[in-house]
């Protein structure tokens, strides 16, 4: 099942700034059915249940799944270690572990630090008691990492910032610009969805069986769900 991305409920100027930035970013493609498509025509796939995108299996039967609650930065390291331990225990992913850990770490940073900060800046106050959910599914061939941002700010503000021209981004972007660059450097596909006012999710896919050289030739996909 696929749904057409349609309508815009976020700040349009900011949204188009984001899209234009993405379109100019080398290595980012809107990729559908083995064909490059116009960004306005990109369809969303796999997200059968957008309120709980990892509820339905993304991988074939036999995949291992783990979910973790992220509450604050203080429990980030502990959660990260638990997830990595689980992945290592169940599969032979050690060879690509460094890249995967880096990306999960960056997603966590965005969910726990950047997104709440961006939410506060644009007037969406984080609600007390809400936490982020990190989920992962993996086999020996690939791994999916999912992140939920309950403030819905990841895409609306923080992620758009990440794609401003890099230049001397060190001083102008906090950690977010480099964080997104790290994510894009390492994962095969990156999916981002936003449902303003409710939640934002991000999902990253890694192919574990490809060599680094082959991995680099796989186009990254950025499929956007904007109901």
């Amino acid at each position: 099942m696929r749904r057409q991305a349609s309508g815009l409920k976020v700040n349009e100027a900011r949204w188009y700034e984001f899209l234009n930035s993405v379109a100019k970013t080398p290595g980012i493609y809107f990729y559908q059915d083995n064909t490059l498509v116009k960004r306005e025509e990109a369809l969303v796939e796999r997200f059968l249940n957008k309120h709980d995108p990892w509820h339905d299996p993304w991988l074939l039967d036999g995949a291992v799944r783990e979910s973790y609650k992220l509450k604050t930065v203080d429990n980030k390291s502990e959660t990260l270690e638990s997830l990595i331990h689980a992945i290592q225990k169940h599969s032979g992913t050690d060879q690509k572990r460094r890249n995967i850990v880096t990306v999960i770490d960056e997603l966590m940073l965005n969910a726990l630090i950047s997104a709440p900060r961006a939410a506060a800046e644009i007037g969406i106050q984080p609600k007390l008691g809400e936490s982020c959910l990190l989920a992962a599914e993996w086999t020996d061939e690939q791994i999916w990492v999912h992140m939920q941002d309950p403030w819905g700010a990841f895409l609306r503000d923080n992620f758009a910032k990440s794609f401003r021209p890099l230049g001397n981004h060190v001083e102008t972007h906090g950690h977010s610009g480099r964080g997104m660059q790290i994510i894009l450097e390492s994962c095969t596909d990156l999916y981002i969805g936003s449902e303003p006012g409710k939640l934002t999710w991000v999902a990253a896919r890694f192919d574990l069986v490809l060599s680094n050289v082959e991995h680099d030739k796989v186009p990254k996909r950025l499929l956007l769900d904007m109901p």
Partner: protein, 172 residues
């Protein structure tokens, strides 16, 4: 209170200080010590397991607070650090030098990963990097294949040594 994710072990070699980094450079790291201004110092990054983007920011701010450090030599730079150093400008001030760094390889026989140390004046200088055409495992003597994309992985050398020539072996 968040636990410090970075451990720093201060030692001395031939009268000069060496600091061994262990753990992660991230949002929970304390990176505040002052580098000496009267003598050289080496930073050993071999046991640095992880560097995230929040850690990069801390590193850069820390280097800017130590612009008067005499000579800083980075050695045994872990691939975790190399990867972020190759996508971030400004990690190495001009008076900081690179003595050695690790490069990920993979054993062609059993697909086991193995990091190979590139040492200054052997594989590289400030003017050129020569990626060896053939590397053998230190553990099994089997042949190893380069497991990085050279154009991306070695970018940090270009950032520190602008104009450095990178020579790929003929089989890449």
């Amino acid at each position: 209170m968040t636990k410090n994710s970075l451990r720093l072990d201060h030692q001395s070699e031939n009268g000069n200080p060496v600091i061994f980094f262990e753990g992660s450079i991230d949002e929970a790291s304390l990176l505040e010590f002052k580098l000496p201004t009267d003598r050289p110092i080496s930073l050993d990054l071999n046991n640095l397991s992880r560097v995230n983007s929040a850690g990069i920011q801390k590193w850069i701010l820390w280097t800017r607070e130590n612009t008067k450090a005499k000579v800083v030599t980075l050695r045994r730079i872990n691939p975790s650090f190399v990867r972020v150093a190759s996508i971030t400008e400004g990690l190495f001030p001009s008076n900081w030098d690179i003595e050695s760094f690790y490069v990920p390889y993979v054993n062609e026989l059993n697909s086991e990963p193995e990091d190979i140390l590139y040492v200054r004046d052997r594989q590289f200088t400030a003017r050129e990097l020569r990626i060896p055409p053939l590397v053998s495992s230190n553990l099994t003597q089997h042949r190893l294949a380069l497991d990085v994309i050279p154009e991306k992985y070695f970018l940090f050398l270009k950032m520190r040594y602008p104009g450095i020539a990178i020579h790929l072996p003929p089989n890449l």
